[in-house]
Subunit: 330 residues, 2 copies
């Protein structure tokens, strides 16, 4: 495990235990800065080791969540040592030799790996889990998405900053951010990943390119607006999906009700649909408010929420590992 | 002033003073429940009077923000007494005999009133201020919107509940809401206005029908997803606009840069675009991140923020009153 001390690393540890993943020996690795920390896992205390030459000898599986530069630096050595590396960073996602896998969507791709398998961007994972069962029925022509992304997507320190600055505002103070570019306390802002010449930010283009790759729809038309909101760890998405022909709402609802990884939260009588608090710390992508788009006969609108750290990152990586082991996904 | 003690009423009082609106005498009216309260205005203390028969005698202008049922009950008497009633509720907005006015968009409509002028829904006001300068250049074919609406849209008590429940969460407690249907603390949810058979909620359909009326585009195709977010008093909107032909981004930017009521906040170099905190307590609708939609040659994407209580309600009502008085809008 590479990056064991981060928010995703911590969730990976919890999930390995919770899902009884077959682990003979767990080796927590992190940057030299974090090495020496003690982690508790399955009742044992483990000391975080620094990632260094030779550390992958005898390792079968590397779960990497320490960022793109660390993955890029150490993947060749891990693969040379015979390990399969499941990488949570964006380093290899669009590499044609690296499968980009959401187990509910394209499990078969995982088996075409050459040592590295990429875990997609969080918003893309949640989106494709909901799109795949619909796309299997009728071709998708265009998708327009607005996201509501939690602080966790920027890491554990961003979550802590949101808590601290919220208290500052409640106490009448002036919030000054240092982790995120602006205070997220009772505020929100467009995702601050680097902007491309198109005017889209990297996060939005990840949704475009990764969705195309995962769904094997290289010409899919998709436009996203990614927004950071003052929620702690679950992302939400408003999704407008245009198909090649009308898609009856009841049929879409029936498909999503039984789709793997999806939980329908949709009670029109009670006006009750998915919320971040419904999925925090939970596995499914919650979907609801599926409705015929009043502005376009071929389009549906839907709303979804998913835990960013869990299905948006750690859970998806563990599910990929389970696929490779032939484990039941439970 | 009818509904003087609410969040919008308080802002109306502040704006009348700030904008030096010509007021010979100000009569604060409210429900019998709120009557007797003391309000401070222009250094004077005013006692809130109960709304009752005969109370509009000699009144020229009624600014109503006490909800639809109060407006419906008292508008006929106010009009019969010779007053013009500018109504902030949804009671008369779609009445063909009542103008629905955003002064930057359709000022001429205000002069066709028969005693009542309706102030549009907050999200609609902000949207139309940004759409109008673009629609004047090229016909709009379809608009897809996702909103990020602050607690203030549900009133002063919802704002206070957000503050209180945020503190509960920070202190490790379980937030239980009583004003809003769910806790908004570090959470968000789809707008809880009543659902129509279409699966859209009233708030979303207000955006459709009110935008059509204000912009005099009865066939405009528009689909909205309205979401309540844990922000105190400014709304944001992600807007996808499809035109009848391609609309060069630079041209749209140039039009919006000089459009009345719009402030462009768009620094691609610094990755700096509108945020709720930019517009809180301020007049303009802040617009930015205008970009060519990568998924549709005829579409633009843009992002906007506006103060819900101010331009989304009180300011727009005062601007309508200023129009009628022939006042400069400042």
């Amino acid at each position: 495990m590479l990056g064991a001390t981060g928010a995703v690393g911590q969730e990976l540890l919890a999930l390995l235990e919770e899902r009884r993943f077959p682990v003979a020996e767990l080796l927590p690795l992190a940057s030299p800065r974090s090495a020496g920390q003690e982690l508790s896992w399955q009742g044992e205390s483990l000391t975080v080791q620094p990632v260094q030459a030779g550390c992958f000898t005898g390792v079968d599986l590397v779960l990497a969540s320490a960022g793109g530069s660390v993955s890029r630096a150490w993947a060749p050595e891990a693969v040379a040592a015979g390990a399969v590396l499941i990488d949570n960073s964006s380093a290899f996602r669009l590499d044609p030799d690296v499968p980009l896998v959401v187990p509910e969507v394209n499990p078969e791709a995982a088996f075409r790996h050459r040592g590295v398998i990429a875990n997609p961007n969080c918003t893309t994972i949640l989106l494709t889990v909901a799109l795949a069962p619909l796309a299997a029925r009728r071709p998708i022509r265009r998708v327009v998405i607005s996201t509501y992304q939690s602080a966790s997507g920027a890491g554990a320190r961003a979550m802590e900053e949101l808590r601290q600055l919220s208290r500052t505002v409640l106490d009448g103070g002036e919030p000054v951010s240092s982790v995120l570019p602006h205070s997220l306390a009772f505020n929100l802002f467009l995702h601050n990943s680097p902007l491309e010449p198109s005017g889209y930010c990297e996060e939005e283009l990840k949704m475009l390119h990764e969705t195309r790759k995962i769904m094997e729809l290289p010409d899919l038309r998709l436009s996203a607006t990614c927004v950071r909101v003052p929620v702690l760890r679950a992302h939400s998405e408003a999704v407008n999906i245009e198909f090649s022909e009308p898609f009856p709402v009841e049929e879409a609802r029936a498909l999503l009700a039984v789709a793997p990884g999806v939980e329908l939260i949709e009670d029109f009588g009670a006006n009750r649909f998915p919320m971040p608090t419904d999925v925090t710390g939970r596995d499914p992508v919650a979907v609801g408010r599926i409705r015929q788009d009043l502005s376009e006969p071929n389009a549906l609108e839907l709303w979804l929420c998913g835990d960013q750290i869990r299905k948006g990152a750690a859970l998806n990586a563990i599910q990929i590992a389970e696929l490779l082991c032939g484990e039941d996904e439970g």
